[in-house]
Structures are given as structure tokens and as C-alpha cells.
């Protein structure tokens, strides 16, 4: 299963790279989102997927069931998702402002107004 999901993330990364190479700001943004989704998934998959239950201590036990998935990557992903939201919100607003200010979403033309 892990191999299949790694192939899936590879596909998502490829899509993300391709979208980021476009000249549209919107596509660049979607590309960034693709890559952050893929990265989150990679962190979950690479250490190994569990059988399906979560790393939560069952009632009466002192530690999670044997074979539980690794909780540390999950904690890392959780914060990554929320921070990713902050970053994307910032980028979306930037896109909006840039388009209103410069009347273009072409990154090659945005470059010339830099400075």
C-alpha cells in the first residue's frame, strides 16, 4: 500500500511542479497547494501506514495498541496543515491585490513591476 501511495504523491508532486511552472498566478497557487498536500501525505506514508486504528490509548491500557501508526509524523502534519492554511490565505490575498493593482495575472509581467 505504501508503494502505491508514494507513487500517488509522486504524481501530485509532478502536477504541482508543472502548475508552478505556469505563468498564471492562479495556477502557481494551485501548484503550491498540490505540493503541500503531497508533502503532508509523504510524511504520513514514508514511516509506514498502520492497520487502520489511531495512536490513541484504549481505555484500561497504558499505551496504544501494538502496531499503531507513528504519532510523531501526525503531529508534524497537523501543524503543517494549519500553517499551510495561513500561507495559502496570504498568497490568495496577495494574488487578489496583485491582480487589482497591476491588472495582470501573468507572472512574467509581474516581474517587470518588481522594484
Amino acid at each position: 500500500m505504501e508503494t502505491i501511495l508514494i507513487l500517488l504523491t509522486g504524481f501530485l508532486f509532478t502536477c504541482g511542479f508543472y502548475l508552478m511552472l505556469r505563468r498564471n498566478f492562479t495556477r502557481l497557487l494551485i501548484g503550491i497547494l498540490f505540493i503541500s498536500q503531497a508533502a503532508n501525505l509523504v510524511i504520513l506514508v514514508v514511516p509506514g501506514l498502520g492497520p487502520g486504528f489511531s495512536p490513541i490509548v484504549p481505555d484500561g491500557a497504558t499505551r496504544p495498541l501494538e502496531g499503531h501508526p507513528d504519532p510523531l509524523p501526525q503531529a508534524l502534519i497537523l501543524t503543517a496543515i494549519v500553517i499551510g492554511f495561513g500561507v495559502i490565505a496570504f498568497a490568495i490575498v496577495l494574488l487578489k491585490k496583485a491582480y487589482h493593482g497591476l491588472k495582470t495575472d501573468d507572472l512574467d509581467r509581474l516581474k517587470e513591476t518588481d522594484s
Binding site: 500517488l8 501530485l12 508532486f13 502536477c15 508543472y18 497547494l33 501506514l49 490513541i56 490568495i92 495575472d105
Partner: protein, 919 residues
């Protein structure tokens, strides 16, 4: 030693306090600020006996024990001597500076920077750890930069300051490199220890490197050829600064460094040759250049350069006699050069000019100043019974007994000394002689504070000449002893009887006087010769600097071209090449171990692939955004299927919020246009595919290399979660307890991003109630009146149960944020951008999180370690333990809720405004 360091603290405190006073009462500030250095000076006097008897004051404290850096201070002979110059002359300079800069806007910064400089110099004089010494060393360069540029409205001053900083700063970097090599060869950074390991260093293959780097540092600081050009420029500084930094103390730091390093690096032919040659040339050239000057300060600056050359040359000769001559000359020079500089400043103030050809007759108008000037000038000329005479006799004695080339060295010394006499007469005598009409004197120049410094120093020069024991066999002998590493015992004498030395001295004075009499002709001749020199080292320096800046600009424009696509292409190609290279070198280990294939995740993956293709191909923004949403929800489902309920919840919430954000902005964006040609698209696809494939292979390799579960750090976390952190949900426990510091940073980043969004949306226009009412339809409002309390309630439940079941601050915060946004939208009577409210939530959250760290601090436990209070039974949630991690989670909850509220309401406000302008 404690007194010395306390004095340093007092000085740096003074650097903060006295500038405040100096704005209105500069003279008072001068007198008061002199107290601390005078105090240190008195303490130093009490220590001369100890230092002479090899009982050196030391003090040490740990600083960075992990790297073996400690604050070691140790006052040896040369250090004591230099400290006395720094504090003694420094106190007089502060008094003088107060009078000189009275009423000037430069007074306040002068007091701040000069005292900073004083602190730095005292550090240089007393630091035993080389890295600590280096820090103080650089601080002197920095203080010098600030002081030269004190009149920063003038281009020349700024340029001179920058030049001095660049030259001495570059030398400082060389010195640092030299120190680091020296430390690794010698195995210690302690000067005292290194001084006993001289043989080890001198026989090391790294010796040459260390030597070159260290003398670069010393030569730049002490203005040796070819780095001398910054010193005359530095005269752009106010006169008190020139008198203090650029004649008496800072420029001596280079000489002092050479003296300190003499036991480590000295006694080798290359040391001897380099120092003697460079020092000798600097000595002669400084003198010759001085002959061409008419400006009082420039005259003194070049003669200072000549004196520094003399000192370096003496340390190069390196006999006991030469070192002794160097130490005596160090003091002698300071005793006459500092007062002459101060006098030049007073003359400038009194008459408005520093041109020696215009100045005359000041003696009648300012008799006391004239006496001080004459005393200093006689000492500089080396006339008996002044201390300058003792210095010059020693100088000649050392030069005659220099060994190789002693005749050449003596001749060089003779020329420099003769020129010295001429300069002394020009600066100290000529302006005060009466040649007819008496000049008008600016009354501002008649102040006791301006007179006391030159008078005391000049009188000291005369007194020590008459009673050489005042300077003390102890002080000079101790300094020489610590440089040549063996006890020396010799007295300073004024009168040696009739000898060859006396004859040379007499001839020197005669030649000097002759040069003075024909001064105009000599100046014209030297000027003519100097004009013939095509390129001066300052020109070369400026040329090099300009090319460097050009080159930096070119490389910046090349690498920072501003084309995002190109940046990405470079990154992706590098990524692919790196992975390929490592695959070629290690080989692919084969497919990694993989768990059983399950049907549902495979189906979700296929759907995600389809969504991905749609996102790439679609021309419609709506379609692309929806496809992206599909990917996001797909990931959420995978999270849910593979035992990560917290992630699934968070992902669903964030994905929804992101879609809402896009939906708000989307309508205003143009449809996605095809900007690129088909060929470019094909190329990009190729690059993306290559990078994607390479990355996939790398990820497979990483998967193959994962360590077994039991050896992971998280195994420990899972085991300790319940017993030690009272939480069943290990993911949440990691977030709020085990790795709480990370989370702390993350909520701060989140808050900053949200504030950034608010900043970008600032000034989007005025509020439009009509448009807001258009959103808040009655149906919507009715629904929301139920929804919001429900959402808030849910969020609180999620927060409370988070420690034991899926939930927690992040998830709860997102839900609460959604609820708050809805309520804002529904109520037209409140401003929809929520005003300051989101900021208050965020601030409250961060403060709560910070407060939660305090108990552990007070109990002296590890920072952010959980402190538990007790447990409570709550409806729905059940029995819950309470402690600081829970408080911390509340902080997270508040920040996340505030962030959602801020971003969404600000964006919505912008959109409603848009709407209003459209209609």
C-alpha cells in the same frame, strides 16, 4: 581585577547616561564622565608593584563553556601600560571633549561613542582569551567608524569613516582567521598559555599563515604601509576623537597586538624582516608626507603614522633594547601627540583655521596654551630634559645595536627624527610666535576644560623627563619582561654622559631646525615629488571597492533575475541531478517493503489522479479550484483510513476554509489564459516529470531505509503519553506537551501570517452597509442564530476532549473560527471586519500559551514541561485531567480561532465593498 571590570561597567553605563546630560551641559558631562576612567587609572597605579613582581591581576567567568570560550581577563605589563594610557588620556579627552563640543549636536553621540570605544580598548588591553580579545578589537573599529563619521552630514566624513571601517574591518577578519588557526595549532585560545607555547607555533607548518593573517590585522589597525591611507582621512573626526583614537590609543592597538604576539610568533627571520622593513618604510614615508602638509591635524596625522612605523620597526628588531625603546616611545609619543592634537583643536576653535602658514602670534593671546604647546613640542623634538629625549636616546641606542643593517636603520631613524623636530616646531611653536599683528581670538576657545588636558600631559612629559623613575622601572620593565619572556632590569636615565648618542641627537635637532627654516621650499619640493606618483594606495583601494560593488551587482542580477519560472527550473533540475547522482553512486535498493493493498484507498488514489489531471488541463478557474479541493478531501480520506483522525478532521476543516477563500476571490480573477507556447508547455512537462520521477524514486528509497518502529523516538512518546502526560491521544500530547515549543512557534507564525493578510487588505475602502445587508438575508440570519452557538459549543467539546480523543486546540479553533465568522456575517449592525476582536483573540491565545509555561519555570523544571493540577468530571467529555498543557491548548485554540476570524472577515469585507462599487 574586579575594580577594573567594574570600571568598565561604569564606563558603559556612562555611555548611556552622560549623552543625555551632554545635550544641554556638555562641559559638565565631560567632567563627570571622567570620574570612571580616573578611578580605573588610580587602581592601575596601585597595581604597578604587583605587575612588576609578576603578580598579574586576573579574572575569569564562563561564557560559552560548550565551545570553551570564557571571559578571561589578565593584566600583564603591556596591558597595564596601555590601560593607563587609555584611562589617563581618556579622562582628559572627555573633559576636553565636553568643552570642545559644547552646544554642538555632536556632543551627545561623542560621549556615547567615545566611552564605548574606551570600554572596547580596555577589553583589548586586558582580554586573555583570543576570541574575547577579537570581539573588543572589532568593537574599537566600529567605535572609530562612528566617531569619524560624527559629522555625518558631510560626504567626506562619511567616506573617511567607511574607508577606515573597511580597512580595519578587513584586517579584523584576517586577524580572526589567524586567531582560529593559532587556536587550533596551539590547542588553546588563552594568550597566556600560547605565550608559553611559542616554539610549538613557530615550528608548525601553519606558522606562515598565522603570521600573515595576524600582521594583516595589526598593520591595518596601526596604519602601516600600504594600509596607511585611512589614517589621514580619519582626521575628518572632531579633534578630541583624533587626539584620542587616532594618535594615542586605537592605532596603538596594532602595535600592542604585535607586542602580545611577540612571544608566540616573534624571533623568526620573517617576523624580523617584515616588521623592520614595513615599519621602517612607514616611518620614513609618514615623515616625508608630513613635510608636504600645512593643516595642523594632517601634519600630526602623518607624524603619527611615522611614529607607528617606528614602533613596528622596533618590535621587528626585537632585541631587549628595541622592545624597551618601543615601550618607552609608546608612552612618550602619547604624552606629546595627544596634547598637540588638543592644542590644534583649540587653535582651530580660536582662529577658525588650522593652516600653519596663516597662524601666528597666539602666544601673546593664549599664554598658557602656548606654554603647553612649547613643552609638548620640545618633548617631540627630543630635547632634554623632556621625556622625548629619553625616548629618542633609547631609539638611537636600539637602532645602532639592531644587528643586521643597523647603519641603514639608524639613518632611516635619523631622517624620521629630524622630520619630527620640524613637525614639532611647525605645530607647537610656529602658531604661537609673534610676527606682528595679533590675531582675534574667539572667546569660546578660552575654557579651562580645553586647557587642562594639554597642560597636564605636557607637564607630565617634562616631569617624567626630569624624574624618569616616575614612569617607573617597574612599569616599563614589566612590559618588556612580558614581551621578551625574560626578566629585564635596567633604569631609565636622562643623562648618559657625553657619547655618540648625544652627538647624533644634537645633529638631529640641528637638521630639524634647518628643515623648519626652509619649510616652504621643502614643502614645495616634496609636493612636486608626490605629484609624480601616479597611483596612491587610496586610489587603488577606491578602484578595488568600486569594482567589488560592480561585481556584486552583476552576480546579483545574474542569480536574482526575478523570473520565478527560471528559479523553479534551476531548483528542479538540481533536485533531479542530485537524486540521479546519488542513485548512480549507491544503486537502487529495490522496491521497499509495503503493507497489504486495500481496495478503498486505491480507489481514492485513482480519483485523486483524475482530479490532478483535471487541475492541469482545465482553463476554468472554478474547475481548477474544485479539482484542488478534490485532492484535499482525498488526502483527508486517506488520513482517516490510515489511523489519523486528528489529521482528517483538520484537513477537512482547512480544505473547506481554503475553498471559501478561493470562492471569495475567484469571481474577480480572469479565466486562466494560455500564456505559454505549446513547446514551452512540453518542456515544462518534461522538467516536471523528470523531477517528479526522481523524487518518487528518492521517496521509495527513503521508505526502504526507515528504521523499525521500536527504535523511533515516537515509540518512547507513545509509551510515556498516558503515564507521564495524562493524555490518551498521543498526537495531541506531542503537540501540547512533548513538542510544545514547536507548537508555540507555529501559532506565532500563524498569527503573523494572519496579520500579514490583514495588512495587505488594509485600506480596501469604506464599509458598505447595503452590501452587507445583501449577504445577511433573513433566512441566513435565522440559520446562523442556531448555527453559531452550536459550532462554538462543538468547538469547546473538541478542545476539551482533545487530550484523550481526536480533537484539540487546532481543530476546535478552526470550528470556533467558522462559527464566529458566520455570526459576523449575519449581523448587519456590527462591523463585519470584526474590528480589533480577532487581534484580541490572537493576543489572548499567545499570552495564555506563554502563561502556561510559567509554572514549570517557577518549579525549576524543564521549560514547557507539563505541570498537572487535578482532574474534573465534565459532561459529554468525561473525566479530564487539568494541567498546563491543557492551558496551552486553550492558547492554541484562541489563536487559531482569531486567525480564521481575521482572514475571513477581512476578505469578506473587501468583497462586499467590491460588490457595492459594481452596482
Amino acid at each position: 581585577m574586579e575594580w577594573y571590570l567594574m570600571g568598565m561597567v561604569a564606563i558603559i553605563a556612562g555611555a548611556m547616561v552622560w549623552p543625555l546630560l551632554a545635550k544641554r551641559h556638555a562641559v559638565w558631562a565631560g567632567w563627570l564622565s571622567a570620574i570612571a576612567p580616573i578611578g580605573i587609572f588610580c587602581w592601575l597605579l596601585t597595581q604597578t608593584k604587583n605587575v612588576a613582581n609578576e603578580v598579574l591581576p586576573t579574572w575569569t567567568a564562563e561564557w560559552v563553556p560548550q565551545m570553551g570560550i570564557s571571559l578571561d581577563f589578565r593584566l600583564d605589563g603591556p596591558g597595564l601600560l596601555l590601560s593607563m594610557l587609555i584611562t589617563g588620556i581618556g579622562a582628559l579627552i572627555l573633559i576636553y571633549g565636553g568643552g570642545y563640543l559644547k552646544g554642538s549636536p555632536q556632543a551627545a553621540p561623542f560621549f556615547a561613542f567615545v566611552q564605548l570605544f574606551m570600554l572596547a580598548m580596555l577589553g583589548v588591553a586586558s582580554a586573555d582569551h583570543l576570541l574575547v580579545l577579537f570581539i573588543f578589537w572589532e568593537l574599537t573599529s566600529l567605535a572609530s567608524y562612528l566617531l569619524i563619521g560624527l559629522s555625518h552630514s558631510e560626504l567626506a566624513a562619511r567616506k573617511a569613516a567607511l574607508r577606515a571601517l573597511l580597512v580595519t574591518g578587513t584586517g579584523g577578519l584576517a586577524l580572526l582567521a589567524g586567531i582560529l588557526i593559532l587556536g587550533s595549532v596551539g590547542g588553546t585560545y588563552s594568550l597566556a598559555e600560547l605565550q608559553t607555547k611559542g616554539d610549538l607555533i613557530r615550528s608548525s607548518p601553519m606558522y606562515l599563515g598565522i603570521f600573515v593573517l595576524v600582521i594583516l590585522g595589526a598593520f591595518t589597525k596601526s596604519a602601516q604601509i600600504p594600509f596607511h591611507f585611512w589614517l589621514p582621512d580619519a582626521m575628518a573626526a572632531p579633534t578630541p576623537v583624533s587626539a584620542y583614537l587616532h594618535s594615542a590609543t586605537m592605532v596603538k592597538a596594532g602595535v600592542f597586538l604585535l607586542a602580545k604576539f611577540y612571544p608566540i610568533l616573534g624571533g623568526v627571520p620573517i617576523w624580523h624582516d617584515t616588521l623592520t622593513v614595513i615599519g621602517g618604510v612607514t616611518m620614513l614615508l609618514g615623515g616625508i608626507l608630513a613635510l608636504a602638509q600645512t593643516d595642523l591635524k594632517k601634519l600630526l596625522a602623518y607624524s603619527t603614522m611615522s611614529a607607528l612605523g617606528t614602533l613596528v620597526m622596533l618590535l621587528g628588531i626585537g632585541t631587549d633594547l628595541a622592545v624597551k625603546a618601543a615601550m618607552v616611545f609608546l608612552v612618550v609619543h602619547a604624552l606629546y601627540k595627544a596634547p598637540l592634537f588638543m592644542i590644534a583643536g583649540v587653535v582651530d576653535k580660536a582662529t577658525g583655521t588650522r593652516n600653519v602658514t596663516l597662524l601666528q602670534g597666539l602666544g601673546k593671546r593664549m599664554p598658557l596654551l602656548g606654554i603647553a604647546a612649547a613643552l609638548a613640542a620640545f618633548s617631540m623634538s627630543g630635547l632634554p630634559p623632556f621625556v622625548g629625549f629619553i625616548g629618542k636616546e633609547l631609539l638611537y641606542e636600539a637602532e645602532i645595536h639592531a644587528g643586521h643593517y643597523s647603519l641603514l636603520i639608524t639613518c632611516l631613524g635619523f631622517a624620521a627624527n629630524a622630520i619630527n623636530v620640524t613637525v614639532a616646531l611647525k605645530v607647537g611653536i610656529s602658531p604661537f610666535r609673534n610676527r606682528g599683528e595679533l590675531p582675534d581670538i574667539n572667546p569660546k576657545a578660552r575654557k579651562p576644560s580645553l586647557l587642562i588636558g594639554p597642560l597636564i600631559l605636557a607637564l607630565a612629559g617634562a616631569l617624567i623627563g626630569l624624574f624618569p623613575w616616575l614612569l617607573g622601572e617597574g612599569l616599563i620593565n614589566a612590559a618588556v619582561r612580558d614581551i621578551v619572556s625574560q626578566p629585564v632590569d635596567s633604569d631609565l636615565k636622562l643623562w648618559h654622559g657625553f657619547s655618540l648618542l648625544l652627538v647624533i641627537s644634537a645633529v638631529t635637532v640641528v637638521v630639524g631646525v634647518v628643515l623648519y627654516i626652509f619649510r616652504d621650499r621643502v614643502r614645495a619640493m616634496v609636493g612636486l615629488v608626490l605629484q609624480k606618483i601616479p597611483k596612491k594606495s587610496s586610489d587603488i583601494f577606491d578602484w578595488g571597492l568600486a569594482r567589488l560593488i560592480e561585481g556584486a551587482g552583476m552576480s546579483t542580477r545574474f542569480f536574482q533575475h526575478g523570473n520565478l519560472r527560471l528559479y523553479l527550473v534551476v531548483v528542479l533540475i538540481c533536485l533531479s541531478s542530485l537524486i540521479t547522482a546519488s542513485l548512480v553512486s549507491t544503486g537502487f535498493a529495490g522496491m521497499p517493503q509495503s503493507g497489504p493493498v486495500r481496495f478503498v484507498p486505491v480507489g481514492i488514489s485513482l480519483l485523486m489522479v483524475m482530479a490532478g489531471i483535471a487541475a492541469i488541463r482545465s482553463r476554468s478557474t472554478v474547475m481548477a479550484v474544485l479539482a484542488m479541493g478534490g485532492i484535499g478531501y482525498g488526502v483527508a480520506l486517506l488520513f482517516a483510513l490510515f489511523g489519523a483522525p486528528d489529521l482528517a478532521l483538520t484537513q477537512v476543516l482547512v480544505e473547506t476554509l481554503t475553498l471559501v477563500l478561493f470562492a471569495l476571490v475567484m469571481r474577480q480573477l480572469p479565466p486562466i489564459q494560455a500564456y505559454s507556447s505549446t513547446r514551452r508547455r512540453a518542456t515544462d512537462l518534461g522538467i516536471a516529470l523528470t523531477a517528479g520521477v526522481a523524487l518518487t524514486i528518492a521517496l521509495l528509497a527513503v521508505r526502504g531505509a526507515t528504521i523499525p518502529d521500536a527504535e523511533r523516538i515516537s515509540a518512547e512518546m507513545a509509551t510515556r503519553s498516558l503515564p507521564e502526560a495524562n493524555g490518551k491521544n498521543v498526537v495531541n500530547v506531542i503537540l501540547v506537551d512533548f513538542r510544545a515549543l514547536d507548537t508555540m512557534g507555529e501559532i506565532c507564525v500563524l498569527a503573523i501570517a494572519a496579520i500579514g493578510v490583514a495588512g495587505l487588505l488594509l485600506g480596501s475602502g469604506r464599509r458598505n452597509v447595503q452590501a452587507e445587508l445583501a449577504i445577511a438575508t433573513p433566512l441566513f440570519r435565522t440559520a446562523v442564530s442556531w448555527m453559531t452557538p452550536l459550532l462554538i459549543f462543538m468547538s469547546i467539546v473538541l478542545l476539551f476532549r482533545g487530550h484523550n480523543e481526536p480533537g484539540g486546540g487546532f481543530i476546535g479553533g478552526l470550528v470556533a473560527g467558522a462559527g464566529l465568522v458566520l455570526r459576523r456575517l449575519a449581523s448587519a449592525d456590527r462591523p463585519p471586519d470584526a474590528g480589533r476582536q480577532p487581534f484580541l483573540y490572537m493576543a489572548a491565545g499567545i499570552i495564555t500559551a506563554l502563561v502556561s509555561t510559567l509554572p514549570a519555570v517557577f518549579l525549576q523544571r524543564t521549560f514547557m514541561e507539563g505541570v498537572w493540577i487535578g482532574s474534573l468530571w465534565l459532561p459529554i467529555v468525561g473525566k479530564t485531567k487539568f494541567g498546563t498543557p491543557f492551558l496551552f491548548d486553550i492558547g492554541v485554540y484562541l489563536v487559531v480561532a482569531g486567525v480564521c476570524l481575521l482572514i475571513l472577515t477581512r476578505l469578506i469585507r473587501g468583497e462586499t465593498l467590491k460588490e457595492a462599487t459594481h452596482h
